[in-house]
Each structure stands twice: as structure tokens, then as C-alpha cells.
């Protein structure tokens, strides 16, 4: 983009709208480069990215709306996109469409036209479509639709200057008129919109009465909520709906969808040519192999195994080097501070509190979280995730979840932080929340240390396996309970299988960087504050009192030795420290000298379930906001207490 400094800079706001997987974020990045910010839409967890560019003396603000298939307001993404478009804030919509799936993509275009907004189409993947034998006449498509259509290549940036020029030109033009539907439907629509025009229903000027009429006929769940006065039209709408259903034999919403698609079919037919024998491309062969009933699973195993192995092998190495470096730094600082005459509590606070906290946080971030984000972005951008979900769907159904839930669950055995973060691959908010609550209860590698170090060491291998099994049962049980108890709908699996394509390294790196940055901002202060607090307690001698204060719970309720309070406190910071601290505190490495077998079992069960560590809480805060994070923590604590108490009572009955 050529940045021209003009004295009379004019501002335009354009919004990018399109289906998922059409290259929308690629176009957004081509347009705005690094001048962008990502934020949540107020009150919703839908992310909206904004960026600016200067083009021919215009300052253009670009808003990247979430990828959607329709504006029917059945998902948060659709509601956010619709509200934003209707707010009147964007002067023009750039609708990105995939030339290879023209019909499905134009469905959203038609809905945008119904809203009466100014529109420019950006036709992406034209070359790919040509290879598949689909040739599109851009001029005739533009003429048929009555909207400017610009062929672009979001990867190379071809056509983007033309797109921006068109956006500026049409930002002040008359909005296009939507295609006409069948006679029957048009008649009813004009009848309703006439009624809307002549009576004051409190509908703002910029809202097209025709659009409101279509939404009323479709039985839109939100329009009546927004404009309650429309209730007066209820009787009229009901009569018309019955009439439509009688004539067409379908629900009115299905009739309107069919009308849109038949208009689209007409337009596509007259503006594109499909050559008789499309060639099977290389990527199609790969796609067939990835979902193959046997090879598909083999590849899945290799992909997931490879991903896990590389994250934990490379991450482990990096974390070793990192910890070594930081230990050296801490020693050096200690020497330097001692020579300055700083010693005692202040030194401990500085070193064990702050410096150690920073080291702990950075070593988790750099070694695991960064790598994990990288792997997830690659799987996402290549289009592999939907394939994995396809293969695993029937397995996860046995647990009451859907195919994609497998990946976070599996990651949970490694580290809870990436597991929580990866929950965002679930489509609905409800599934995301439930899965978030479940993955933190899966024993991560640090908690496996406790299971192996206590249960396996002193109670035998079978006991350790029993605890793993118990954990799975608890997770499945809580999962089923949450699915029943939580409001919200789930429609089962309907998902697009996007084409497999090579990921763009700079896009993947950027995504990784943005996500990691967010985590560092939330996680680092939390971990540092946590370790500072505990160190402060230790230095001032309050730690013993806190451990003692926990005794009604640890000793009274769960029947464990009072000393395990120290494990509970440090386990909140880093789970792997729980055993070390207990050994130091009780001054013994032989846990059987301080705990009976029953106590050990109760201790292990409680430690596995009781609460996510600070880093996980930071991840939860980033993904789920405060309320649900608090709920998850409270749920874990409650479940851990109940299960541990049950174990105590049952085991003491038996032994």
C-alpha cells in the first residue's frame, strides 16, 4: 500500500465479512500490516480485529468481523456481525467470497444485500477455481448482482489496490438492490414492509423495512426482542406464514432460504462456466487420504504423536536451558546483592519471590506455550483440524462430547495451559466452557509426578492406575452433568471441510505471537505475584500459621497430616513443587513416615483434582473471563473435596 500524506485526510470505515476459510484474515493482514488491534466485542467473547491503512489520501479503518455462513442470528458470531453492520458504523462492507464455492458464499452476500448496505465483493481463489475447471466472468457476475466485483489474490496481494479504490468509490454510492425472489414471497414482503413503513414501530431510519419484513417472516429470534412494538404485527405475520406454508409446503424460513439459493443459482449459471471434466488435483488426493477409514487414523496418530513429541521434547530441552540460565543469573545476583550488603529477608524476597517467579513464568511460556500455539496455528491454517474431528467424532460421542474435544483432552495430560487454550477450537460457547472445566481436571505431567511419586511409589502401580481411572470417571461424570445443567443449544456436528492448503508462515507466526503476548500479559504478573506472596509469608514466618489455619480442612475433614497444607499452597503456584516442598517442610524424603497408605491415597486424589495452578488460571482468565474461571476453580475444589472425602471414608471402611 502506498501511504500518501494528504492534508485533507478523509476517514472511511469498512468491514470485512465472509464465510470461514475464504482467506479473510489473509486479506485483512494484507490490508493493514501490523497496524492492528484485537479486542472482544462488548459483552461477547467474539474477537474483532481492527486496523488502519492510508490509501489515496483516505484513512481507511478496516474491521475484521468473525467468519460466518449466514446472518440468521443463531450464534454469537452472527449476532455480533449483524449488530455491527446494522450499527451504521461501517460505511461499506467488503464481502470476501471463495470462487470455488460461489453458491454457498453468495448466500451471505444476498443476506447483506437484503440489509440494504453498500457492498463490494472481493472474489478470492480465482486461479484455484480455474484449475478445478470453474471459470467465472467477473464482469457478468457484477452485472447480475448489481455490485462491483473485484478479483483478488489474498496471498500475493493481487487486486487489492483495485479493491480499495472500489471501496472508496462506492462508499458514498447508493446501496445495491437485492435480487427479486418468487412472486408469492415478494407480494407478502411488500405487504409487511408497507405496514412497517406506515406505522411507527421504533425502527431506526437506516434499517430497511424490507429486511425487517424478511426477518419477521423467517421468525428471527432477535428482531422482536430489539423492537418489541412489532408485536402488533403478530396476527398479520401469522396469517401470511400460514399462507406461505400452505402454498409451498415448507416453513417460511425454508421457503426464503430456497428463494435465495434459486436466485443465486440463476446468477451463478449465467456468469460462470463449469468445464465438463474437472481434474483431480493433488490436494484432493491428500484430502481423500486424510479422511480414509484406515490411513486417516494412521496419519492422525502420526500427526498428534509428532506434535506431542516435538512440543514436549523441544519444550523440555528449552526449559532445561532456560532454568539453567536463570539459576546462574539468580546465583550471580545473589553474589552481587550480598556484596552490596543486602541480605536476609529482603534478599530472599527479591530472589525467591520476584526473580524466581519471572523465571518460572518465562520458562513455561517459552518452552511450552509458544510451541503449542505454533502447532495449533499450523493445524488450523492447513485445514487439518476438521479432519481430525471427523475421525474422532464417534469416539468422543461416547463421552458426550464432539470430535474436536479430543485434542484439548489429550493435551491435558501434558500441560493444562495449552489444553485450556485449545478449547477455543470448539464451535459453541457452551462446549468451550464445559471442556474448559474438564481439561483442568486431567492430571498434567506435573500432577503425574505426584501420582507416581506417592501413589505408585508407596501404594503400588495398580493404585496409581486406579487414580488415573478414577480421574477419567470423574471427568466423564462432571462432563455429563454440565451438559445437562447448562443452558444453550447444540445442534450436533455440521461443519465445513475446508480445502487442505499450505499454511503461510508469517500468518502462523503472527497468530502465535499475538496469542503468546496475551498470555504473558496475564500470566506473568499472576505467577510473580503468587511466588512473591508465598515467599513473603515464609520470610515473615506466617507460612506456618497458614498451614496451621488449613488444618481443620486437611486434618479435620480429610484426615491428612497437617504438613500437607504446604503442598496445597505451593501446588497452586506450580504443581511439581508440591512434593519437594512437603519433603522440605516435613524434613523427610520418606513419605510413609508421615502418612498412612489411606492418607497417601486421599492426598494424591486431592492434589490431582483440587485447583488449577496459577499459569492455568491465567490461561482460563484469558479465554473465559473472571466469572467462569472462578466457577471452574470452585468446581474443582468442591469435586476434589468430595471425591477425597469419599475416598477417605470408603478406604477407612475397607482397611
Amino acid at each position: 500500500m502506498v501511504a500518501e500524506k494528504d492534508v485533507e485526510q478523509k476517514d472511511i470505515e469498512i468491514a470485512l465479512v465472509g464465510n470461514p476459510n475464504v482467506g479473510k484474515s489473509m486479506l485483512f493482514n494484507q490490508l493493514t500490516g501490523l497496524n492492528q488491534s484485537v479486542g472482544n466485542y462488548p459483552g461477547k467473547t467474539v474477537e474483532i480485529a481492527r486496523g488502519t491503512l492510508v490509501f489515496k489520501g483516505f484513512r481507511i479503518e478496516v474491521v475484521d468481523l468473525p467468519g460466518i455462513y449466514s446472518l440468521s442470528a443463531f450464534s454469537d458470531e452472527e449476532v455480533v456481525a449483524r449488530d455491527y453492520i446494522l450499527s451504521g458504523s461501517p460505511g461499506l462492507i467488503v464481502n470476501i467470497i471463495d470462487a470455488m464455492a460461489l453458491e454457498r458464499n453468495l448466500y451471505l452476500t444476498l443476506q447483506l444485500m437484503e440489509m440494504g448496505v453498500r457492498l463490494v465483493l472481493a472474489l478470492n481463489f480465482v486461479e484455484d477455481a480455474k484449475k478445478k475447471g470453474i471459470e467465472i466472468d467477473v464482469n457478468s457476475l457484477s452485472r447480475e448482482l448489481g455490485i462491483p466485483v473485484i478479483a483478488i489474490n489474498a496471498v500475493s496481494g493481487l487486486g487489492i489496490s483495485e479493491l480499495m479504490a472500489a471501496a472508496i468509490k462506492y462508499a458514498t454510492a447508493e446501496p445495491p438492490r437485492r435480487p427479486r425472489y418468487g412472486k408469492e414471497v415478494e407480494m407478502h414482503l411488500s405487504e409487511i414492509s408497507r405496514a412497517i413503513r406506515t406505522t411507527d414501530f421504533g425502527i431506526p431510519e437506516n434499517l430497511s423495512p424490507e429486511w425487517v419484513a424478511i426477518k419477521l417472516l423467517e421468525g428471527d429470534p432477535i428482531i422482536l426482542e430489539r423492537f418489541p412494538k412489532l408485536v402488533h404485527l403478530d396476527h398479520k405475520i401469522k396469517t401470511i406464514k400460514n399462507e406461505l406454508e400452505r402454498v409451498h409446503g415448507e416453513e417460511p424460513s425454508v421457503v426464503i432460504a430456497s428463494e435465495r439459493y434459486s436466485a443465486i443459482h440463476r446468477i451463478v449459471k449465467s456468469s460462470s462456466v463449469l468445464h465438463a471434466s474437472p481434474i483431480t488435483t493433488g490436494s484432493e488426493k491428500v484430502e481423500a487420504l486424510l479422511t480414509h477409514r484406515y490411513f486417516g487414523y494412521l496419519i492422525l496418530l502420526l500427526v498428534l504423536g509428532g506434535m506431542f513429541y516435538s512440543i514436549f521434547a523441544i519444550g523440555g530441552k528449552i526449559s532445561e536451558i532456560f532454568d539453567g540460565g536463570f539459576n546462574l543469573l539468580i546465583d550471580l545476583t545473589r553474589g552481587a546483592l550480598l556484596s552490596q550488603g543486602i541480605a536476609g529477608p529482603a534478599l530472599d524476597l527479591l530472589l525467591n519471590g520476584i526473580l524466581f517467579g519471572v523465571a518460572a513464568a518465562l520458562s513455561i511460556v517459552v518452552s511450552y506455550i509458544l510451541l503449542f500455539y505454533l502447532a495449533l496455528s499450523i493445524l488450523e491454517d492447513t485445514g487439518y483440524l476438521p479432519r481430525a474431528a471427523f475421525l474422532l467424532d464417534s469416539l468422543m460421542h461416547k463421552l458426550g462430547l464432539h470430535g474436536k474435544a479430543f485434542i484439548p483432552m489429550l493435551l491435558g495430560y501434558g500441560c493444562s495451559v495449552p489444553a485450556c487454550i485449545s478449547c477455543k477450537i470448539m464451535e459453541t460457547w457452551k462446549e468451550r466452557m464445559i471442556l474448559g472445566a474438564l481439561v483442568v481436571m486431567i492430571p498434567c505431567s506435573a500432577r503425574s509426578v505426584i501420582i507416581l511419586g506417592v501413589a505408585a511409589e508407596y501404594l503400588g502401580f495398580a493404585a496409581a492406575m486406579g487414580i488415573y481411572l478414577l480421574d477419567i470417571l470423574v471427568v466423564v461424570g462432571i462432563g455429563r452433568l454440565l451438559f445437562r445443567a447448562m443452558p444453550g443449544e447444540s445442534v450436533g456436528l455440521i461443519m465445513e471441510m475446508p480445502r487442505i492448503r499450505m499454511f503461510k508462515l508469517w500468518l502462523v507466526l503472527k497468530k502465535t505471537w499475538l496469542n503468546t503476548k496475551d498470555f504473558v500479559f496475564i500470566g506473568l504478573p499472576l505467577i510473580v505475584a503468587g511466588s512473591f506472596l508465598i515467599e513473603a509469608l515464609r520470610v515473615t514466618g506466617f507460612l506456618d500459621q497458614v498451614v496451621l489455619a488449613l488444618s481443620p480442612f486437611t486434618y479435620g475433614l480429610l484426615g491428612m497430616p497437617v504438613a500437607v497444607g504446604i503442598s496445597i499452597i505451593f501446588g497452586m503456584l506450580r504443581k511439581e513443587m508440591a512434593l519437594v516442598m512437603l519433603a522440605t517442610y516435613a524434613n523427610t524424603l520418606d513419605f510413609s513416615s508421615i502418612m498412612s497408605p489411606v492418607q497417601m491415597a486421599v492426598f494424591t486424589i486431592f492434589m490431582v483434582l483440587y485447583m488449577p495452578c496459577v499459569a492455568t488460571i491465567a490461561a482460563l482468565l484469558k479465554e473465559y473471563k473472571v466469572k467462569w474461571t472462578v466457577f471452574i476453580a470452585a468446581l474443582n475444589l468442591a469435586v476434589a473435596t468430595i471425591v477425597a472425602l469419599a475416598a477417605r471414608l470408603l478406604l477407612s471402611l475397607i482397611f
Binding site: Y69, A257, T291, S394, H397, G492
Partner: protein, 145 residues
């Protein structure tokens, strides 16, 4: 004691008592007319009262030019077979999702893949590939071509 463990295993693994509860819910949903919005969409677990689906099929197909005999559930088609969407049974949200993704009545499609063990079905429809859970696929009636 056994009662508790029975109930617990039933709850965890979705055996008998669980299914009874599901059926009761579905029965309520079925008695409503399909144009009413439903709060809870049955998931594609498809532990569904089959009679209810069949009744609904019957009700809907009466309005069509097709007799019920020439129609089959989408889930019954084999890999590579082509068909035409005729009608779908389900709540508003499901129907609307299907329409949004191009599964409107009279649309032709091809079954590309059927997942192992009641896994999802991949369709080619309007030159896109869509994966649909087996439960939903058994609520869509099609005419084989």
C-alpha cells in the same frame, strides 16, 4: 448400595435409565409443531424415539409431491451414491443451519465418505464439502438418484 452404583454407572455410561430420560424429553419436543422454536435441540446422539421421527416424516411428506416409500434417511445412502434433499426433521436452529449451508429442499448432493463406527458423513453439496453427524443425517430425508 447396588442401587447407587447402578444409577452411577447408568449416569456415567448412558445406559438404561439415562435413555428413558432422553425419550421423555424427545416426546415433549415431538408434540410441538415444527414451526415453534424449541429451547433444547436434541443433539445428534440420536438416542431418539424413532416413532417420533417417523410420525414427523409422515406429517411433512404429506405436503410434498413425494410418497414416503421413495424416500430414505440420508444416513442410509452408501459412499459414492447421489441423492436429492427433500425434507429435514428438527428444531429451528438445526433447520436454519442446514439451509445456511445449502441443504435446502430439492438440492442434489453426493455422499463422499462415511465415518467408521457411526461416524459423521461427508457430503459434496453446491461444490463444497460438509461433514454431518450421523444423528443429523438420519433426520434428513432424501430421494436417492
Amino acid at each position: 448400595m447396588f442401587g447407587i452404583t447402578d444409577a452411577a454407572s447408568a449416569f456415567l455410561f448412558g445406559t438404561k435409565p439415562d435413555r428413558q430420560v432422553m425419550n421423555k424429553d424427545d416426546g415433549n419436543a415431538c408434540s410441538e409443531t415444527s414451526s415453534e422454536p424449541k429451547v433444547e435441540e436434541p443433539s445428534d446422539d440420536n438416542e431418539k424415539n424413532e416413532q417420533c421421527i417417523i410420525n414427523e416424516y409422515y406429517r411433512l411428506s404429506k405436503k410434498k409431491r413425494y410418497s414416503l416409500e421413495e424416500l430414505v434417511p440420508l444416513a442410509a445412502l452408501e459412499e459414492g451414491q447421489k441423492g436429492k434433499i427433500i425434507l429435514a426433521v428438527g428444531g429451528r436452529k438445526l433447520i436454519s443451519r442446514l439451509c445456511d449451508l445449502g441443504l435446502t429442499p430439492e438440492t442434489e448432493f453426493k455422499v463422499l465418505k462415511k465415518g467408521l463406527l457411526e461416524g459423521p458423513i461427508i457430503l459434496e453439496i453446491r461444490s463444497c464439502e460438509l461433514a454431518i453427524g450421523r444423528g443429523i443425517a438420519s433426520k434428513v430425508l432424501v430421494k436417492p438418484l
